[in-house]
């Protein structure tokens, strides 16, 4: 009967109140009152309302009692650890509560230190948990594809080196001839912006080509519609699949969109499928079209645009599959020596391949955050030790009065756990926010991770870290200060001063050593970043506004119409008072990297494998002048170059040297790999331009330029050299574009300087993050150094007083303090420098034009530490100086 009564107090409420409310009558009558009231609510508002009311009321009352007990404990005397009555039901909870309260009070007694420690620990735990949540998402979580372990990444290699993209005909051959894969797909690893016109409005979206079977290979079903079919992989089929976002935003999320027609760059495509919302494979794109052999990016064996992904057949091992494709590679080498002579395929598990692209950075960050946290934790330990030695008398009294070692240890443990709990909670909250920041330092978009929510695993990791930190740096040092023989401590009148001091000294040396390692790391990254930023991009990026203009699908259909459009645009823009010059190119440096093909000396064609690769750029007259790319020899494209019969080329200095090592490129004839044996005349040589951004070194500036007049295109990028701030002419640019043709979209307007900053954004953030971490470690180790010196000065006051009384020079006293401080800094350096030498090799892959054993970085760290170490020594030395011999001796 009682069980079916909806007004009955639930069992857990009874248990909770039993724990919180003292006194049987109080408790029982309270439960009775609640039940009676709940009964009344059942009649007025029904059983459900009554149950809800009961739960909340029980919680609120329990909270009141806990709060009352806390407040009561805060006011009276410190807890008496020896007064425990085993029969008292509340004794354990009470003493625990007292320990907690006492812990809070002793932390509150030094509010500045506690706040600083908390801040440091919160940041340390936060940074570690944040990096962990990235590591977890990127490296520990399985890829979101069914049976993901059988997915392999098939990287094309040249002479054994991963390219890693391969050609479409090669893909088709591997797919057909291999028996190891149940499915074998490919995708372009870059996206191409397209204009998509739906029934709603035109929009500029990211688009990629994928083989018809790619989604089937990955095992991801569309939420709507179907995959591409094999027939749609043939030339001529006009179909598209779209992302969930695109479906929602551009197609209104209607379920009947399948079969609807959308115009992609002016051509009607029929929509066959919508992918799920969490599907991102390598790229965040909105539209996929099927690869068609002979179609875009897939026309020849020498065009390498495809990343291949295979799914191993059941029971086929990676090694078996590798030897299978090796045989095919050898066959292809014999069949197509022109294009495949050195080509092969190398298989790795997909998860490993993706992880290896971000793994090193993630692990580096996590190791760094871990080291900072270790320094922070050891500072906590140092502080607790210092407090411990001053508290020895208190602890001895307690021990003498009968408190067991265990009881005192429990109290000290609770104290450090209180600090840890607050710091851990703060750290996990901070991590949630920091992980967003970390994602900007180490983007995981290749894994389809655009934002991160704290996972349960990461929270558990945070809790574990907190507990370990508390126990390792809180309780372990506490063990050293619990008196073994309290009577001796009491008799001598003060604690055994040496207890814990040696440990603290060791901690300071370790902190300095860790700071050295981190500082060297960040010094290397900062130097590398300075090198990156100091590079000459080859053109003048200041006051340059860039945008993309695509005429596909517009009214300008013929090449002549397009040429007229761009001529008019350039003329009208140049007439503006705010515009100095206008450059038009199919791809602008830094903004649009990629697109390289072979080019060679037309009069002395080399062997197929030795044809130099170069970026090809189609530029309109005035390009070099507007971009301020210096001319080295010959001339650039003048007006009317389109009327000349012979093709004209301008080469970059590097390319000219590659093709014509003897010099004198101007006037020679070159042949780009456009097919049909095209030959053109080199009319000029210009300085190199960093085409792909400042981060990539080597021969990436080999470029040849063709004239737009001779090779017109539909889509061009525009760069406008302005007189004032580049953004200021955007309204006029829009107005002119609108007048010329309102249907032509103006895409992605950016100042060139912003693009350059973006291209080195990641190294910048990386060196910034490392800099912050190492600065934190430096400050922490100095705080530790200062703390131990200050305490030593206090403890040696009597000695200093005596020395001064006996006629010691003040300088000697300062020397004693500074020597003991600098000895520790020196030892820290002695340990830290070799450790930094060993660990800086980890950074090798992140450094640009800086060796991991860069002497400047090492020397500057040593000088910096010595200098700031001296400063940290001076304050305590000053205090030692002011010791008045009379007072300090009388104190004894």
């Amino acid at each position: 009967m009682a069980k079916t009564n909806p007004g009955a107090v639930p069992g857990w409420c009874v248990a909770l109140l039993t724990r919180c409310v003292p006194g049987r009558l109080s408790r029982e009558s309270l439960l009775g009152d609640l039940e009676a009231e709940a009964d009344a609510i059942v009649h007025r508002r029904g059983p459900r309302a009554a149950r809800t009311w009961l739960r909340w009321e029980a919680l609120a009352i329990a909270a009141r009692y806990v709060w009352a007990r806390l407040r009561q404990s805060l006011h009276p005397t410190p807890p008496s650890p020896f007064l425990t009555h085993p029969r008292d039901r509340f004794s354990f909870m009470n003493t625990l509560l007292q320990d907690v309260v006492y812990g809070i009070r002793s932390l509150r007694s030094t509010p500045g230190t506690t706040a600083a420690l908390l801040f440091i620990l919160v940041l340390g735990i936060g940074a570690l948990v944040a990096t962990f949540s990235l590591v977890e998402a990127a490296l520990l979580r399985p890829l979101p594809y069914p049976d993901q372990k059988s997915l392999v990444w098939a990287a094309t290699t040249f002479e054994g080196y991963p390219n890693p993209v391969g050609s479409a005909p090669d893909w088709a051959d591997y797919r057909e001839r291999s028996n190891s894969f149940s499915d074998f797909g490919a995708i372009t690893p870059f996206f191409l912006p397209v204009t998509v016109v739906t029934e709603r409005e035109p929009s500029r979206v990211k688009h990629a080509y994928a083989t018809w079977n790619l989604f089937r290979t990955l095992g991801v079903e569309p939420v709507l519609g179907r995959w591409f079919t094999e027939a749609e992989g043939e030339l001529g089929a006009t179909v598209a699949m779209v992302s969930h976002d695109f479906w929602q935003e551009q197609l209104g999320g209607e379920s009947d969109v399948i079969g609807e027609s959308v115009r992609v760059d002016g051509e009607a495509h029929s929509l066959v499928g919508v992918m799920p919302s969490d599907f991102h494979f390598l790229l965040d794109v909105d539209v996929w079209r099927p690869m068609q052999l002979g179609g875009p990016f897939a026309s020849a064996r020498r065009f390498h645009n495809w990343l291949m992904i295979g799914r191993l057949r059941d029971g086929v091992s990676l090694e078996q599959a590798q030897s299978d494709v090796d045989v095919i590679s050898r066959d292809l080498q014999l069949e197509y020596p022109d294009s495949n002579e050195t080509k092969a395929l190398s298989l790795t598990p997909l998860a490993d391949a993706i992880a290896s692209s971000v793994g090193p950075q993630l692990l580096l960050m996590m190791a760094t955050a871990g080291l900072v946290l270790a320094v922070a934790g050891s500072n906590v330990a140092s502080l607790l030790l210092a407090r411990g030695s001053t508290r020895q008398a208190e602890l001895a009294i307690r021990a003498a009065l009968g408190a067991s070692r265990g009881r005192i240890l429990r109290q000290l443990t609770v104290e450090s756990l209180v600090l840890g709990l607050v710091a851990g909670t703060g750290g996990i909250v901070a991590a949630n926010w920091l992980s967003g920041l970390m994602l900007r330092v180490i983007p995981l978009s290749v894994l389809g991770i655009e934002h991160l929510d704290m996972s349960v695993t990461a929270v558990l990791f945070g809790i574990a870290v907190t507990v370990v930190i508390s126990l390792l740096f809180g309780t372990a040092p506490a063990l050293r200060v619990i008196p073994d023989r309290p009577s001796e401590t009491l008799r001598s009148g003060r604690g055994t001063v040496g207890a814990g001091n040696r440990l603290r000294s060791g901690l300071v040396i370790a902190q300095v050593a860790v700071a050295v390692v981190l500082l060297v790391g960040s010094a290397l990254l900062v130097r590398s970043f300075v090198m990156l930023r100091g590079q000459n991009p080859g053109f003048s990026p200041g006051q340059l506004l860039s945008a993309e203009i695509n005429l596909s699908g517009s009214q300008q259909e013929s090449l002549d119409e397009r040429r007229i459009f761009f001529d008019q645009l350039a003329t009208r823009l140049e007439a503006l008072p705010g515009v100095e010059a206008v450059a038009l190119a199919n791809q602008l440096p830094i903004r649009n990297p990629g697109n390289n093909i072979s080019i060679w000396d037309a009069d002395a064609p080399p062997d197929s494998v030795q044809k130099p690769l170069a970026y090809q750029r189609i530029v309109r007259q005035g390009y070099f002048e507007a971009m301020q790319i210096p001319l080295v020899a010959g001339r650039t494209f003048g007006p009317g170059s389109g009327t000349q019969d012979e093709l004209q080329f301008v080469l970059s200095r590097t390319l000219a040297d590659m093709i014509f090592p003897g010099g004198g490129a101007v006037g020679k004839r070159v042949s780009p790999d456009w097919g049909d044996g095209v030959v053109g005349l080199v009319v000029g040589v210009v300085e190199d331009v960093r085409v792909a951004g400042l981060g990539v070194g080597g021969t990436d500036s080999a470029t040849f330029y063709a004239s737009y007049d001779q090779r017109p295109m539909g889509g061009m990028n525009i760069a406008i050299r302005t007189r004032g701030e580049p953004g200021s002419i955007v309204p006029e640019l829009r107005a002119i574009m609108h007048e010329l043709d309102p249907t032509v979209p103006l895409g992605d307007i950016r100042a060139m300087e912003d693009l350059i900053a973006d291209s080195i954004g990641q190294p910048r953030l990386m060196s910034l993050a490392m800099g912050l971490f190492s600065a934190t470690a430096l400050v922490l180790s100095l705080v530790g150094l200062y703390g131990i010196l200050a305490q030593a000065v206090t403890q040696r006051r009597r000695e200093f007083g005596l020395r001064v009384a006996l006629g010691a020079e003040r300088g000697n006293i300062v020397a004693i303090v500074v020597r003991s401080g600098m000895l520790r800094v020196g030892l820290g350096l002695a340990v830290g420098i070799p450790a930094a030498l060993a660990s800086s090799r980890m950074l090798e892959g992140f450094l640009f034009n800086v060796a991991p054993v860069d002497p400047i970085a090492f020397a500057s760290v040593a000088v910096l530490l010595t200098a700031v170490g001296l400063i940290a020594c001076l304050a305590p030395a000053w205090r030692a100086l002011r010791v008045d011999p009379v007072i300090s001796l009388r104190a004894e």
């Binding site: 409310v21 009558s29 309270l30 009152d33 009321e57 909270a63």
Partner: protein, 109 residues
């Protein structure tokens, strides 16, 4: 002679409500009385905690009324203000009265 711990205002109100309800006062009736007087919701937990505290300080006594149906067979806890409680209430009142003395006239100006 002044005390170290004067009654707080909520404590005074609870004690007075106990006296107002009179014989058989127990937590729900005290709560009801307080809410009626103050014209707003009063936390049930605060009343229980205060009753316990006042009893610990000897200002209230409590007695158990026999178990009755509708309460899961649980007793009621009837409370009564002790002489000490009455004394302290009057002491506070005297302080307050003397502090208020003459202020009403001033406020009317």
């Amino acid at each position: 002679m002044g005390r170290q711990n004067l009654l707080g205002s909520f404590e005074q109100m609870v004690l007075l409500a106990v006296r107002q309800v009179g014989e058989g006062a127990y937590a729900p009736t005290i709560l009801e009385r307080l809410q009626a007087t103050m014209g707003r919701k009063v936390s049930r937990g605060a009343v229980y905690v205060t009753l316990d505290r006042l009893q610990r300080r000897g200002l209230l006594t409590s007695s158990s009324a026999p178990a009755e149906p509708g309460r899961g067979g649980r007793p009621r806890r009837h409370v009564q203000v002790t002489d000490e409680g009455i004394e302290q209430l009057e002491e506070v009142r005297a302080y307050l009265d003397s502090l208020w003395d003459g202020l009403d006239a001033v406020q009317e100006d």
